[in-house]
Symmetry: C2
Subunit: 663 residues, 2 copies
C-alpha cells in the first residue's frame, strides 16, 4: 500500500498576507517577494497593543540580541489577537544544521546539512523545496520556544507581579502562564492539504499511501505512524491466510490427534481448530512476530535515511523549553545553558517515579480484585435472596469499579505528566519516551488484569476496535460533512486572515498515543491469542484497511495541524512492540500447554501434569532462544543504509583529523 | 589491588644494534640517534641473501611505492636468518591516526590523534613516550601485515612455482607459505620487563597490579584481562564474606524452617546451610552477578578512555591480512581494497557454520550419552559376573570416551578455525569474536553435559583449578628457575644480537583463551552453584590472589612476548559473562526449587509438586525482569566518560560542518 515513488512536488501557490505588514529582514539573502505564513500565535482577547508590539519586535530581533530572528505579521491590525510568524532563509538554514537534518547534496547523496557548505546542497535557494512544510513549521516553533530573557526585565503592558521576567527565563512559557499567549499552532495549507487528501483517502486511492507527501506535510512523527500502520497491515496477510486455511480448508486438520485423544478432546472441539492446528498457529505466530519487528526496523531505518533524520543532533542542540537547572557551560558543546546532572535525574526516576508508579499500579490491581470479590459477594447474596434490591445491587460493583478506574486513570495521567516534568529531561525525545512508558505501563497492567479476570477479552477487544473506529471517524465525519458544512460555505468569501483564524475552531490533534495503543493491543492480541481464534488476523486486516483511511481523514480534516519534531524512528513504541513480542512467546507457550484441551489430551496419553509443565518450560526457553538468535541475525538496518551512515561517520572523522582544533 | 596512579615512566636505556646497519630514513623529522629494535622476523635457515635483501628493501620503501615505510636491520650480517624491524616517527604517527588511538592533547584531554594537528599533542617528538611499547610493536606488525604486491612479480631467490606474487597478494602471508618467514614476534625489553616484574609479582607487591605499566608493555588486550581478573577478585569479597557468615556464624540459620520441615529435612542437613540460607544465597548471587557485570562495564569503559582506545577506527582501517574479495572501492572510505559483501558472510555464518557447529555439538552429546549408557551396561555386567575381565571392562567406557572426546575436540578446533577463516571477516576483532564464540560454545556444551551427567562437578571444578594452577605455573617456574638457569647465565656475555635471538627459544604465548575460560568457569560455578556450596567464593578468592601472580609471572618470564592489538573492551568475553549471568538466574531457580530437600519441605507443607514448579517459573521470570531492569538502570559508562565521548562526537560533527567537502 505504499507509493513512495511519487514525490510530493505539488505546486502550491502560497497564500500571502499583505506583504508590507511583515517585519523586514536585515539579511540581503533572505529578502523574498512572498512570505509564507507558517505558525499562528493566538493571543488573549485582552492583550495590550504594547505587549503585542513588544512580542513582535522580540520575534524579529536577531539572535545575537536575544530575539528569535523570525518574521512576524500582526494580522489585520495592531490590536488584533493573533501574530502570524514565518522565518527568513538564514534562520531556516542555521536551524537545519543545528537539528542535524540530512539534505540532498549536489551529488544526490543525503548529507548532514552544513551552513558553511550550504551552496553545495540542492534547492538551497528555495526554502519551500529545501525544507518540508512540517520542518519549516517545527523550526519556527523551536525558535519561538527557545526565546530566553537576556536579563531581568518587565513585559510591557502587564501588571507588576506576573510581568517580570527573570534572567534566562523562557519567554514563551512565561507568556503562556501570564495569559498573553493562548495557543501556538502551525497553519494548514489548504491547497496542499486537498492534494494530499486526494492521494491519500479518496475513493480512487485504495492500495497505497503517499508516505513522502505525508512526511512532507505532517512531519516524520506522523509519517512513521502511517508507515508502520501500512507495514503492519501488509504483514497481517500471512497470518490471515494461515488462519483461513486452518479454519476452512482443514476443518478436521487434527484428525489423527483427535482419534488418539478419544472422547475427551472431541467433546470440546466445537469452536476452533484442533491441538495440532494450535501448535502450528503458536509457532507460526512466534516466528511471524519476530520477523515482523526485525523487518520493520530495517524499513524504519531506510525511511529515516530517505527523510534525512538518520543523523539527528538533538543531544547537541539546546535543551527543551521545560528544562531547568543551574546555568553553566555544557561540557560537550561548550555553550552556556542550564545544566542538570544525569545521576540526579536517575535518582529521581529510580527512587521517586518508579515507586510512585508502582504504588498506583498496585491501586489498579487492588481495585480490580475488590471488584471481582465484590461481584462474587453480591451474586451470592442475590442468589440467596433474589429480591429486587439485590438485583439492583448486582450492578453496584461494576459501577463502583468504573468510577474508581476512571478516577484512578485521571490521577495516574496527571501524576505521570508531573513526574516526567519533574524528572527534568533535557531532550524532548527523552521526555516523550519516559512519559509514554509510564502511560503504557498503566495501560498494560489494566489490559492484563482485564484479560485475567474477564475471560471474554477476545471478542471484547475486537468489538472495542470496531466501536472505536465508528466513534473515531464516522461520528466526526458526519459532524464535519453535514453539520459544519453550511457554516464552512459562508467563509469562502472571507478574508485570508479569517481563513487562517478559522483553524482555531478545530480541536487540537490529540496525538498518536491512542492510535499506537490501538495497534499495540491488536498486535498483542494477535500474537497472544491467535492460536485460540485463528481468524483474528483476517478481521484485523479488514479493520486496518479502513483504519488507514479513517486515521488519514481524521488528521487531515477534523483537527488542527499538529507540530511534529523530526524523528528517526518510532521511539518507545518500537520497544513496546519488541517487548510484547517476547511476552507473547511466553504467553503462547503457557496458554497452549495449560489449556484444558491439551491437558486432557496429555493426561489421556499418560503424561503427568508436572511433565507437561516441564515441557512447556523447555519449549518456552528454546523459543525465546530462537527468537533472540533470529533478532540478532537479521541486521537492524539494510546494508545500503549502514554504508551511508558509516560514510557520514568516516567523513566526520576525517574532517576532525584535517582540522587543527581551536581549543 | 590496583595502582593505576603511578605511571609507567621507567627510564629505559634502549639497547641498540649497531647504528649504521639500520636502513636510512628519508624524512628529516624521522632521523634519530638511536633506533629501538621492536620486532624480529625469523627467516628460514636456507634463505637466500637476495631474498633477504629484497625483503629489507621492501620494508624500507615508502608506502607510495608499495613498501611498509619501516626501518630494517639485517642482524649481524647480510646472510643471517633474522631481520630486526623498527619504524620511523612519521610511520608511527600516521598509523596512530589510522588506528584511531586517542592521545593526550596539550590541554591534557584524550583526543583522537590527528597527523595534521600533531604538534598540539603531548610528547609527539618522543615516540617512546608518545606510544607505548605494545603500540609501537603492533604498528610495526600491522604495517608488515599490510604489505601487498603492487603488480604481478617474482620473489628473488625463490624457485618458480611458489615464488610468484599475484597483484595485490599479501606479501607476508605469501612468504610464510613459501617458507621464507618462519615467525614474526615482538622483542622483549629486558630492563622494562624486570621493572614491570618487580612492581607486579615480587614479594613486596601484594595488593595492587601496575595496570598502566602492563598496558604499556603488553598492550590493552592483556591489560584488560588482568584488570578484569583484578576487578573480579575484589568482587569475590562480598560473596566470600556471606559464605563465611552462612557457614560458620549461622550454622543453624534455618532453624525455624527445619523444625517445621521435621525429620525429612533434618536427615539431609549435613553438608550445607538450610533452605532459607539457600534462598538468601540464591537471591544474593543473582544480584551480585548483575552488579558485577554492570560495574565492570563502567570500569572497562573508563580504562578504555584512560588507554586511549575509546574511539578505535578498525572499521575504517584496512582489512585484516587473511581477508580476500574482489578488488573495488570501499564505499565508506573510498579506498581501493578487497570487498566482500556482508550478506554473503551472513549466509556463510547462518547456513554453513551454524549447522556444522550444531552437528559437532550433536556428536559431543551423542558421545556423552553413549558413554553413560555404556558405563551402566558394563556395571550391570560386572555386578552379574564379577570376573576380572568384567572388572577391566569397567574402565573401557571411560577410556573410549576420553579418546573420542579428545579426537572430537581436535576436529572441532580445526573446523572452528577453518570456518571462521572461510567466513572471511574484514576486521580482526570480528574474526576473533566469531572464533572465540565457536570454541566457547563447545566448551559450554561440554561443561553442561559434564555437570548433568557427573554429579560431582562442584569438587571437580575446584580441584581442576588447583591442579591447573600447579601445571600452569609451578612446573614452568621450576623448569625456568632451576633447569634453564645455568643455560641463561652463560648468555650474559653474549652479543646484543644473540640476546634478541635467544627469545626465539621461548614458546609462543598461548593466548588468553584458557585464562578467560578459567574465569568463566569460576564465575559460572559461583553463580550457578554457590547456593549449594557457600564456601566457594572463599576458595576462589584465595585461588585468584595466587592466580594473579602466577599469570603475571607466566606472561613475563615463561613465554615469548605476544602482539596485542589495541582494544576497547574484552569483546566477546564480556558477552559471555553477561549470558552466563542470565543463565545462572534460571539455573539457580531450578536448582533451588527442584532440589530434593526443598521438594520434601514443600510436600510436607502441603504444596503440590505442580505448584512448586509454577512458583519456580514465576520466581524465574520476576528475577530475570529485575536483572534486566538493574542492567538497564546502571549506565554502561561513567558520566565523565560519556561526556568525553560525546565531546569527541560533537567536535567531529562541528569539524564536518566547518569543512567544505572535497567530493
Amino acid at each position: 500500500m505504499t507509493s513512495l515513488g511519487d514525490k510530493g512536488s505539488v505546486q502550491t501557490q502560497t497564500k500571502v498576507l499583505s506583504q508590507d505588514s511583515w517585519t523586514q529582514v536585515s539579511c540581503p539573502c533572505c529578502v523574498s517577494k512572498q512570505v509564507e505564513p507558517l505558525v499562528l500565535i493566538q493571543l488573549s482577547d485582552s492583550v495590550q497593543p504594547v505587549t503585542k508590539r513588544w512580542l513582535i519586535s522580540l520575534i524579529e530581533t536577531s539572535k545575537r540580541h536575544g530575539g528569535a530572528a523570525l518574521l512576524a505579521h500582526p494580522g489585520e491590525d495592531e490590536c488584533g489577537d493573533v501574530v502570524v510568524v514565518s522565518a527568513p532563509r538564514c534562520t531556516f538554514l542555521k536551524a537545519t544544521e543545528d537539528l542535524g537534518l540530512c539534505k540532498k547534496y549536489h551529488n544526490e547523496d543525503m548529507v548532514a546539512f552544513s551552513y558553511h557548505d550550504r551552496d553545495n546542497f540542492s534547492n538551497v535557494d528555495d526554502m519551500q523545496e529545501f525544507l518540508t512544510l512540517a520542518e519549516r513549521q517545527y523550526i519556527v516553533k523551536n525558535e519561538l520556544d527557545s526565546l530566553q530573557a537576556q536579563k531581568k526585565q518587565r513585559i510591557p503592558g502587564i501588571p507588576e507581579a506576573p510581568g517580570v521576567l527573570e534572567a534566562w527565563e523562557n519567554i514563551c512559557q512565561k507568556l503562556v502562564r501570564a495569559g498573553v499567549i493562548k495557543d501556538i499552532f502551525p497553519l494548514h495549507d489548504q491547497q496542499r492539504l486537498n492534494d494530499l487528501g486526494r492521494r491519500w483517502y479518496s475513493k480512487k486511492q485504495i492500495w497505497g499511501q503517499p508516505l513522502d507527501a505525508i512526511q512532507s506535510y505532517f512531519g516524520s512523527t506522523v509519517a512513521f505512524y502511517f508507515s508502520f500502520l501500512d507495514f503492519y497491515t501488509w504483514a497481517l496477510v500471512p497470518p490471515a491466510f494461515l488462519g483461513l486455511v486452518l479454519t476452512f480448508l482443514l476443518p478436521g486438520g487434527g484428525g489423527v490427534v483427535k482419534e488418539q485423544a478419544g472422547e475427551g478432546a472431541m467433546e470440546e472441539d466445537d469452536d476452533g481448530p484442533s491441538v495440532s492446528g494450535h501448535m502450528v498457529q503458536a509457532v507460526f505466530s512466534m516466528l511471524w512476530s519476530t520477523l515482523f519487528i526485525e523487518l520493520w526496523k530495517r524499513r524504519s531505518s531506510s525511511l529515516s535515511h530517505r527523510w534525512g533524520t538518520l543523523n539527528l543532533a538533538e543531544r547537541f542542540a539546546g535543551p527543551r523549553p521545560g528544562f531547568h537547572g543551574t546555568l553553566g557551560l555544557n561540557p560537550e558543546t561548550g555553550r552556556l545553558e542550564p545544566l542538570f546532572p544525569e545521576w540526579q535525574r536517575q535518582l529521581r526516576v529510580g527512587l521517586v517515579s518508579l515507586p510512585l508508579v508502582g504504588l498506583l499500579m498496585g491501586l489498579v490491581v487492588l481495585g480490580m480484585t475488590c471488584f471481582y470479590h465484590g461481584e462474587a459477594l453480591v451474586q451470592g447474596f442475590h442468589q440467596d435472596s433474589g429480591s429486587l434490591f439485590s438485583g439492583v445491587l448486582l450492578y453496584m460493583p461494576s459501577m463502583a469499579h468504573i468510577v474508581y478506574t476512571n478516577m484512578l486513570g485521571n490521577v495516574y495521567h496527571a501524576v505521570a505528566m508531573q513526574l516526567t516534568e519533574w524528572e527534568n529531561h533535557r531532550e524532548e525525545s527523552s521526555f516523550q519516551n519516559h512519559h509514554t512508558t509510564k502511560v503504557l505501563l498503566y495501560v498494560t497492567i489494566y489490559v492484563c488484569l482485564l484479560s485475567i479476570f474477564a475471560q471474554r477479552l477476545a471478542s471484547m477487544l475486537i468489538g472495542n476496535q470496531l466501536v472505536n473506529q465508528c466513534t473515531e471517524v464516522v461520528v466526526p465525519f458526519i459532524v464535519d460533512r453535514f453539520l459544519s458544512a453550511p457554516h464552512k460555505k459562508e467563509q469562502e468569501d472571507d478574508l485570508e486572515m479569517d481563513k487562517l483564524r478559522a483553524q482555531r475552531s478545530l480541536p487540537p490533534y490529540p496525538g498518536l498515543f491512542a492510535e499506537y495503543i490501538e495497534l499495540l493491543l491488536q498486535f498483542g492480541y494477535l500474537s497472544l491469542f491467535s492460536c485460540v481464534y485463528p481468524l483474528t488476523a483476517v478481521l484485523l486486516l479488514l479493520n486496518n484497511i479502513t483504519e488507514i483511511r479513517g486515521d488519514a481523514y481524521k488528521i487531515c480534516k477534523l483537527f488542527r495541524k499538529p507540530f511534529s519534531a523530526p524523528v528517526s524512528n518510532m521511539g518507545v513504541w518500537q520497544t513496546a512492540f519488541e517487548v510484547l513480542g517476547f511476552v507473547s512467546v511466553m504467553s503462547n507457550c503457557w496458554l497452549l500447554l495449560l489449556s484444558p484441551r491439551v491437558q486432557e489430551f496429555c493426561l489421556e496419553g499418560g503424561i503427568s501434569g508436572k511433565n507437561i509443565i516441564l515441557v512447556a518450560i523447555l519449549v518456552e526457553h528454546v523459543l525465546i532462544l530462537v527468537k533472540m538468535v533470529l533478532a540478532f541475525m537479521i541486521p537492524d538496518e539494510p546494508d545500503w543504509v549502514r554504508i551511508k551512515r558509516e560514510q557520514i561517520e568516516f567523513n566526520s572523522m576525517q574532517a576532525l583529523g584535517q582540522q587543527v582544533r581551536m581549543i
